[in-house]
């Protein structure tokens, strides 16, 4: 009798390789993906009682292949086609190539929208069920099923091979953005039925580790993984006893996960000197500086200002400037931070975070009345219940 959770982990790690074998052999990504899901389901039902087979991947490939050939036989019978057109069943051979990376690129195809890319990646590469993905994104299962089947229909004509070398960097950037989107979707959640939600941060880290194994020398892949590990380390501390948001400066650093921090810091420290610099590495470096500070006051703020300045060069945008204004305020005082903030007023005035940061800096500057008003403005503009609660509390504290 094997533990179901152990079986679940094993099945999820087998999923992309099994799917790769099927698609390589039969083509038809969409039908192969359905067959793989059915094989995973069959294994999940049978293995706990019957034990895990000696070659789990071969078992899954064989079951999925049988599903496919049954499907095609009945299709063929329905269309009164010759059964000769049905592919011969042969004993599954595990090829030496790992098609996982090809699958990542296919699921993150530029013709799909980002949330669809994320859903398809979780299902085809991650081996999650549609129900789990729907629960994680808080949409009805029928809605998610429709998105996934539409996405697969759209990919029907796509060749199953790695993108040409010239496109690979741009396509990898899309894959990394999707993994980061999955991670964030899991990280910001503060409520919900944990039992019925796939843990998206864990999934995102697992999938990013898989990409890193396939591309061990890529600095941005390493940077993204380090960023996720260092962010995940703070997860237990970001919510208070009543489920309220706790800002970084007030978090109990003893409850940060030391093991994750150690791994994240080691990874980014080893990557920065040898790889071409990029935005994920810079964000990981910023997270590492925070993680290594014994307290908020002892943070190396000048280094964080420098890192944000570099990040603005790689990915210019008002949100990066907004983050830099907080660090500038710590180094040069709140008025210097407010001046940086003014430079992005027109772009971000409708956004609650601009008002929230402004409120924070006004409070540091001792301008209580203005700060209270800015907190209220921020609270009115956010679409997040926990953030609204936090901002309203800050405003009432200043009354």
């Amino acid at each position: 009798m094997t533990e179901p959770s152990g079986i679940e982990d094993l099945l999820r790690s087998c999923a992309p390789q099994v799917l790769g074998i099927l698609v390589r052999r039969y083509g038809q990504f969409d039908q192969c993906e359905d067959a793989m899901q059915e094989a995973l389901l069959a294994a999940f039902r049978q293995w706990p009682d019957e034990g895990v087979p000696e070659h789990p991947r071969s078992w899954l490939v064989a079951v999925a292949a049988r599903r496919l050939t049954d499907q095609w036989r009945s299709d063929a019978a329905r269309r009164r086609r010759e059964s000769a057109s049905v592919p011969e069943e042969d004993p599954p051979v595990i090829p030496a190539v790992d098609d996982t990376l090809t699958l990542f690129f296919l699921c993150c195809h530029p013709s799909l929208s980002p949330t669809t890319q994320a859903a398809l990646t979780l299902r085809a590469v991650g081996g999650l069920t549609t129900a789990e993905i729907a629960a994680a994104f808080l949409v009805p299962e029928a809605t998610m099923a429709q998105r996934i089947s539409r996405a697969k229909a759209r990919l029907r004509g796509e060749a199953f091979r790695l993108p040409p070398t010239a496109d690979r960097e741009a396509r990898l950037a899309v894959v990394l953005r999707v993994l980061y989107l999955i991670f964030n979707e899991g990280y910001v959640v503060t409520a919900g039925d944990a039992l019925h939600r796939a843990d998206l941060t864990t999934e995102a880290i697992r999938l990013t580790r898989a990409v890193r194994e396939l591309m061990p020398s890529d600095g941005e892949v390493a940077g993204l993984l380090a960023l996720m590990l260092l962010t995940e380390a703070r997860r237990p501390a970001r919510l208070g006893a009543d489920g309220e948001l706790v800002p970084l400066a007030s978090q109990d650093r003893l409850s940060w996960d030391g093991r994750l921090i150690e791994e994240g810091v080691a990874l980014i420290s080893a990557t920065l000197p040898v790889a071409p610099l990029g935005p994920y590495q810079l964000q990981a470096a910023i997270a590492a500086v925070h993680a290594e500070a014994p307290s908020a006051d002892e943070t190396d703020w000048p280094q964080i200002v420098g890192l944000y300045t570099l990040l603005e060069r790689f990915e210019p945008g008002p949100m990066v400037t907004l983050n830099r204004s907080v660090a500038v305020a710590q180094v040069q005082g709140p008025h210097a931070g407010l001046a940086v903030l003014e430079s992005v007023r027109s772009e971000l005035e409708r956004h609650h975070r601009w008002h929230a940061v402004r409120a924070h800096l006004l409070e540091l500057a001792g301008d209580v009345a203005e700060a209270r008003e800015a907190y209220r403005q921020a609270a009115r503009r956010t679409a997040s219940l926990p953030e609204r609660r936090y901002l309203t509390t800050r405003a009432s504290r200043l009354s």
Binding site: S113, T143, M144, Q146, R147, V188, T382, A383, S384
Partner: protein
């Protein structure tokens, strides 16, 4: 991002439409629902009865007071909504513009609050 597309209805305006025009509106809703379902953006929709059938409830000093009629007496009222989950605010506006009522009344696009938030 999740949004409610709120259909604000002026019954006088709607009544002024011909039978044919009304049928175009109903058919438009059917087509809109089919399109949203197909695109995987539909979370749900609700059509509301006329406010003439509303009851407004107040609790004052522990006593429940239920009176017939709407809370606000106005020319326009909420006739229904579509709940959608789409990629961008621009897409939510694009969807609102496809609702047939947008041509003679108005659709309000309101973000839905989420149980999620960043460290502030």
């Amino acid at each position: 991002m999740k949004y409610l597309l709120l259909i604000h209805m002026n019954p006088t305006v709607f009544e002024s439409l011909s039978e044919e025009e009304k049928n175009v509106v109903f058919a438009g809703h059917d087509a809109f629902q089919a399109e949203l379902t197909e695109s995987g953006e539909l979370l749900g929709f609700v059509a509301l009865a006329d406010p003439a059938s509303s009851t407004t409830v107040r609790v004052r000093g522990g006593a429940v007071d239920a009176t017939d009629g709407p809370f606000v007496e106005a020319k326009e009222f909420l006739a229904g909504y579509y709940a959608v989950d789409c990629e961008t605010p621009e897409r939510a506006v694009e969807l609102a513009a496809k609702i047939p009522d947008a041509t003679f009344n108005a659709i309000e696009v309101r973000p839905v609050m989420a149980e999620a938030g960043l460290e502030m």
